[in-house]
Amino acid sequence: MSRKRLLSITASLLAGVLIAASACGGTTRGDDEGDGPTGTGGTANPDAEYRTGLSFAMLPKQVNNPYFEASSTGAETVAAELGGEYEFTGPSDASASSQVSYIDTLSQQATDVILLSANDPNALCSSLDQARSGGSVVVTFDSDVDPACRDLFVSQVDSAEVGLALLEMTAEQIDGTGEIAVLSATANATNQNAWIDVMRAELESNPSYADMELVEVVYGDDEDEKSFSETQGLLQAHPDLRAIVSPTTVGIAAAARYLSGSEYQGQVALTGLGTPNQMREFVKDGTVTEFALWDPTALGELAAYTGAAAASGIITGAEGEVFTAGDLGEYTVGADGVVTLGPPTRFNAENIDDFDF
């Protein structure tokens, strides 16, 4: 067969498929109104006791991240307290597809409570559906999935509050004027994007931020080297930059390391979300004035208690249900099955030595 004939046959075949599809009315956006399974079903018994001997597994966005290791410590304490088994497992790269394999594994092992920080709001859904129909309780923490795909979500904090706190700290450090930039995690990271959106909206609407301008958002993909070189790039691209906001623990540490060894130390402010242990030396050497974070250990504890409460039938995930999370106190389930930990804590030279995580 000659090349020309091969090409023309291929082309006409393709054209045929296309015409057939459009003529017969194919499937287009909005045709499908299907909805996934919702809620755990059943009724809550607020007086029930926590079940003992539950198996817990925490699946972070990626392992080898100090933030999730702190959460894991919290969840492990709760698992031990309730006489259960505990496992910390997950991919070494922050991608959704690798998390799917881990969820499949956990659902096969019939884990009672899966504590998940999701790398994608939708990609995990079919695996989570399978795990839940096998009897696992799925509690997301730190980063949520589509509410239809999980039982409850333990939010570290309200996203509006984080965005506002980030902007407030930045404004305080640069007297409310000048160019600022954001060094984020991955381009798809659910909560970083939500916080950045809050910051954008507030910069536009709040007159006290009128002199501040967000010039660029760059992505370090929660990788140390990439975050480091993105910081370098930001400073070269914007000579008038006054502040960098990095709402991710990997990013802020890498940016601080770059700043502390450069001519920009003390000239360009750096704030964001970081852990005290990572940031201590940079606060002491004057690179960083103030940053914030919630306590990830407490977040892990609350997630484990929430999962245990759902697995014990104390709560089902419906709005208004109340449960007691050990020493953390009493929590109420909000709309869409969200449980919120509390406001972020700010760390500076005065209080940083009081924290160890």
Partner: protein, 340 residues
């Protein structure tokens, strides 16, 4: 006594060589591993787990099919995963613009073929090294994927289609995806091992000059292989997007390394001219099943990465050691014969 030894060793060695071709070794190793894992790792041997393994290995297997042919011609295509990302992103863009999914799917495969043709043009038209060209398009296509979709994800795919990618044939528990996997593997296997095209592939890899003199259009062959590789990546782009219900610019990030790894593990020589498809298929199963078993056995992620890496080094080393052992045996035989 001593004069009988070489006479005995010769048929033994040739028998051993017949059985010990690398793809036979890797197929045996895979079968052995599956049996051992099924009897020692809890939850490994279930039908449900087999289904998970098959759905997990599908993208790597599909990409490895054409990659086997490309590596056998002595070239490489490192842009496959980025092509999966870009075609997936384009798919999301078209869906957002109200095009029917039945139209989008062939267009996506066609786009993949075009992206492959760009590689082919640079490599065979301009005579540039495939390593350099496809590293370039690896970055370029991934970048374009971000241009198309930015940091958003398109996730509202119809359940009829996303369900199919994970579904099973009736109540048999056999994943739907098995049918296209077997069909495509058969087609590529037959082309490589039973047609003049396959013989041209090996000839072009073993000695391109000799191949050209014997009337094989080496450049045209390679160019079409890149088109096929791109089209396959487009197909995987469709599968990946529907399987995860998510078209994102970072879909399949870093997958090219796994694909090249299984092709080498399957016994295809990185210098071209050698290697068979059954070995590559076994390598895909071995690598996916190994990772699955280690996860089920609660092995930590760090150990999992180390084990995978060690396995790949062993895979590249072992065929060379086999050849070296064969040479040593032959030269000893020659010495023995000479001393008679």
């Amino acid at each position: 006594m001593s004069d009988r030894a070489p006479a005995d060793a010769a048929p033994l060695w040739s028998a051993l060589r017949r059985f010990a071709s690398w793809d036979a070794v890797i197929i045996a190793a895979t079968a052995l591993f599956l049996v051992v894992a099924a009897s020692t790792v809890e939850h490994f041997g279930t039908a449900r787990n087999a289904g998970h393994i098959i759905v997990d290995l599908a993208p790597v297997l599909l990409l490895a099919l054409v990659m086997t042919l490309i590596v056998a011609t002595g070239e490489i295509d490192l842009s496959v995963a980025s092509t999966v990302g870009l075609t997936g992103a384009a798919m999301g863009w078209m869906w957002n613009h109200g095009i029917a999914l039945e139209t989008i799917m062939p267009l996506t495969v066609l786009l993949g073929a075009l992206l492959g043709a760009v590689n082919g043009l640079f490599i065979t038209g301009f005579g540039l090294p495939s390593l350099a060209v496809t590293i370039g398009t690896l970055a370029l296509y991934r970048g374009l994927a971000y241009v198309v979709l930015g940091d958003t994800a398109v996730a509202d795919w119809p359940r009829d289609f996303t369900g199919w990618t994970l579904g099973t044939i009736g109540d048999t528990g056999v994943p739907n995806i098995v049918v296209p996997l077997i069909a495509l593997a058969l087609v590529v296997g037959l082309v490589l091992h039973c047609t003049p095209i396959g013989r041209a592939v090996y000839a072009a890899g073993a000695n391109p000059v000799a191949a050209a003199y014997s009337g094989i259009a080496v450049g045209r062959l390679k160019c079409w292989l890149y088109v096929a590789s791109g089209a396959m990546a487009g197909l995987v782009g469709v599968f990946w997007t529907l399987r995860y219900s998510s078209a994102r610019a970072d879909n399949a990030y870093g997958l090219e390394l796994t694909v090249v790894a299984v092709v080498l593990l399957g016994g295809v020589s990185i210098f071209g001219g050698k290697g068979r498809l059954p070995g590559v298929l076994a390598a895909v199963v071995l690598l996916t099943a190994l990772q699955n078993a280690l996860r089920l056995a609660h092995v930590s992620t760090e150990t999992l990465t180390v084990v995978t890496g060690a396995l790949l080094i062993a895979a590249v080393l072992a065929p060379n050691l086999l050849t070296a052992a064969g040479d040593a045996l032959r030269s000893r035989r020659r010495r023995a014969a000479a001393s008679l």
